[in-house]
Symmetry: D2
Subunit: 344 residues, 4 copies
């Protein structure tokens, strides 16, 4: 397979490069840019010395038409204009931005404070939450790869909501992310001296992943209620932990919850249901495509705490994108994604 | 004032030493131990070289009787047996462990899995949440200094519960702490290579601070409902952030919440109400005795997110203990506690 | 005393604010700026809420003339033009930049790649390495406060060079610093995701502190040889460790080295000579004005390893500046600088 | 190939598991222990859930005889007694401890303060510095895999010493390591709250890697002089940077140094010579088997600064061990070791 990456300078692009380099079915990886044409990639990122020494090429629909698949990690608001000229011209498109995820243009406008992509493409795009949308993904021309937070939240809560084991009308989701989620552009928020030794809360009730999660609940579990969702910045590079709280429906036990999750993900190699007795943290999935889930039913309060962890750059971005590519091209879902988590 | 510290080898003790050294009314600080008699303190902790070079002394009620106040940072289960012989023998006692906080012996037994302190002392002890208990603290012989999490949670939620602005029956509290809260004994949970770059969840529905918070809600706000409370370990040394979620009572606005908090803490120099437009993280209180609070009412969900940050070793332990000492001895509450937060 | 700070938005300025706030002889602190007039300081830095809520004022020689002392933490290349109008107009000036440190204009031009300050001021300024220059500091109108690296290096090596216990012609100095030394302007070099979990080397043979250290060796120890000096960026916020290597002169023992250091700093409360048997790291001085020194003579190689640690923002910047102010105004050198290191 | 690992609970063992899992020529990995028989590996290390769920087996020469290769990451002092019964019984042995590295028993006794392995095995063992010892490694029954620091130091200095471009009699080597080098046993030195935000120096002039480096210099470059070598603990998990200083021999230029290194490693895919203009830090090799080298000749001092970085757990341990296995079994040296560094 011949692969192209748009926006390779960002962290999503970097992670695609890392993972695709050892993907056994990928024959070549070309890097494309709208603004840094000619830059030698390994001069910008020394760790790729001897690995990716080619210059970045200008985006060009014609030249890219012979590629099998193009990943885009251009930022939101940019992907919506960069990608349409490429759609339907040959390669499958997998977009890592938020531009093609929300079906409702007004929602996008309100939460992103930008102009939405043309409605035609919003309807055509397929939401790439692999474990829940495989058959649509197989045929998709344009995949809207899910956001990092939505991936962690949806995978852990959807089975319980669909089976009506928890009360969807009172969902509280408290999420925490490593700093790489903020991308590679320096800012005060990502300045080491102010971020290190500091956990902070940000974008309370304003995060653009709120409508994406709610849309996912509607789409896959018919749950319509608004959620409360908070995000925290943690002094570490990679990883997301999402801690969700819900009222248990009558008579639902810990065993019932585990059974629901286990059965749902029986055929999904990247979702692991971890017993409540085990330690549970983001590092257990670091560098890998796993999403680990743990649940704790509490009879004292009749509530459940559902916890999930992912590597935001892998299962929350580049890894899931490659997983979707595997599905599209009829490969085994784990192809090129068998990295063991680097716990240390 | 002559001050003694029991358990000076632990982090609570170390922080007392740090803060008392520059307290203008403290004349001397003596260090006591039950197990390391004779150890020169600065040989164990090089940072105290030339500052605290005395050997640790054996705990002895008679010799300690001339002290004005004794702080104990002996661990839970130990304080309950070490301290009774000293109570009423002269010095005021301020205990940083959990042993004298819960009035109900059975609650202690269930949550701590240890034998409780004698009931007589449990009844006699005064819960040292300074801002809410000043008059009792003034006269107290034995102060049970609050836990780190309960301090952050109670200070931020009590005003809103007492004034019935939020629904106490559905409280969800998601707390995150730096690693120093786990003390100075090495373990796998505090081993650098496994804790760094890792946010993890622990003691779900089992944390001994749950009954302490619930007792505080009952005592100061007449709220009886059980809470859901989770704790996470964050890869940083100091700091706690507690993110709490509640249903807003009818017609309660952001302004109303701010007004309630501002009025409650009008005379409390260590509690700052921070506008929702400001950045908010643990580092803004690092090394200081402040508890900062921020609220976000959300009309979309009719819920409120209440966030508070403290330095777990200062306002969550040694600082609040000294604040209580100041109250007991008729000093200005801020005496010796005017450290500016070390944001960088 | 009435104090002014120029460049309070930077980290040197922030640290001056932190330390001066609890200095018992400082009556007021005014903040001055050349570019952010009117900005409320605590809106920029939330941790100063209720502590420093005044707006920044425009630099104005006349209005500043009633101040006793003005600290400047304007950057190199800026201080040289901002400060001359203030010199001799009333307040003592203590400059934290490198602009008045090097006596030789050509050296400045070569190493800083900027225009030097007027020669008149270069000659007039006094190098504020407190422990080695007290009598000149007392009378100085303009103090060039030493750089962070030179402070750590000079304090540890000067005694041994002056007493000819080590061979100055073969000095190798390997220094490592926390990221706060790079200031508060975001850049790729200080971007959390690329700095965290990464120790890197930078400015090899090009660091502007090289001529400053060599000038210090000439000035205080008559040593003329060029040094080899490297700097590394360590994933932590505060702290410098300087590890220096030298050939031992004939017959010099560990005891002799310790004796030389101990006697040199006998009357210097901020320099601690730590026995070789003790643990030794930057955190033992964190937040304090200490410079700790350790030496290891090695008979196998006939070389010595000299190690020193400081908090780069305190002894390496704001703390030493205040120490110099204390000397200038006849105060006890430790006034306002008695903070105990925050080891945890 | 069938592979066994002894001491899989340690970090060397964990990293072998991580890397061997995706090695295309490895058919099975069995885990052996002397003390934790029956423990299910993934219960101890949650990140291996669904990946390595087998129980640890007791070490048994007979049962292990059908394996092709056995890696041991048992600690020094243990490997010397555990391994001899297995040597020559079938599998090739690759030992990651220091027990078979030093040819001189007295050196081992002095630096390790333990009893050496039987002399017979010390003579038989082959030092596994792959790039310098390939032909001996191919035939070796017992490989002594190099230490982490010696790998970084030897690879960067050997070419320059062998070609007499630098003066070997005055070598100063200042090394810095992440905390994972200290293994998985909790201690005060690896306790998060004391290690975080702290760079410290340790084992000055006493590190057991000193004689190993000196032996390597003798063996591969005929250099006999003692070195000065210091080690620092850096608040990060993985990575080593070794900064070495030497006098340049007459007339040696930067170009000459680069040429020597480039030619030496022309056929060595894991050693990259990085231009002096590029950023250089440990993270550029994180998770990979690369050793990156940079040199800076300084005409002002006539000295050179040579810097190298490795991932201490990969090229400094498990990765180099697998590289040696590849050489032994006639595989391409990069087989299973093509991981791209995880710069973020």
């Amino acid at each position: 397979m011949k692969v192209g990456i748009i926006g390779a300078s960002g962290y999503g692009g970097l992670e695609l490069v890392r993972l695709l380099h050892t993907h056994p079915e990928v024959e070549s990886v070309e890097l494309f840019t709208s603004s840094e044409e000619g830059t030698v990639y390994s001069h910008k990122y020394t760790h790729l010395y001897n690995i990716m020494d080619q210059p970045l090429r200008r985006i060009n629909a014609e030249e890219m038409s012979s590629l099998d698949v193009v990943f885009s990690s251009a930022p939101a608001g940019v992907a919506s204009t960069l990608l349409p000229p490429l759609i339907g011209k040959g390669p499958r498109i997998i977009d890592l931005s938020g531009d093609f995820r929300l079906k409702d243009e007004e929602l996008y406008r309100n939460w992103y404070q930008k102009d939405p992509a043309p409605g035609k493409y919003l309807q055509e795009s397929v939401y790439g939450l692999t474990e829940w949308n495989r058959s649509a993904i197989e045929k998709a021309t344009l995949i809207a790869n899910p956001g990092c937070y939505p991936t962690a939240v949806l995978l852990s809560l959807l089975p319980l909501l669909r089976d009506q084991l928890i009360d969807g009308s009172q969902l509280i989701i408290d999420a925490k992310s490593g700093v790489s989620g903020a991308g590679n552009t320096p800012s005060q928020m990502t300045h080491f001296s102010e971020t290190n030794e500091n956990i902070s809360i940000y974008k309370v009730n304003k995060h653009q992943h709120i409508p994406e999660i709610e849309q996912g609940f509607q789409l896959f579990a018919k749950e319509q209620s608004p959620i409360t969702f908070s995000t925290h910045l943690v002094p570490m590079t990679r990883g997301i932990i999402a801690t969700s709280y819900a009222r248990l429906e009558d008579g639902v036990s810990q065993e019932k919850l585990i059974e629901c999750l286990t059965e749902t993900y029986n055929e999904s190699p990247f979702v692991r249901i971890i017993p409540a007795s085990q330690k549970f943290g983001t590092k257990q999935v670091s560098g890998s495509n796993y999403c680990d889930i743990q649940v704790y039913a509490d009879s004292r309060t009749n509530r459940v705490t559902v916890v999930s962890v992912i590597d935001n750059l892998v299962k929350g971005a580049a890894g899931q994108a490659i997983q979707n590519m595997n599905v599209q091209f009829g490969l085994k879902e784990t192809t090129g994604l068998t990295q063991v988590p680097a716990f240390i």
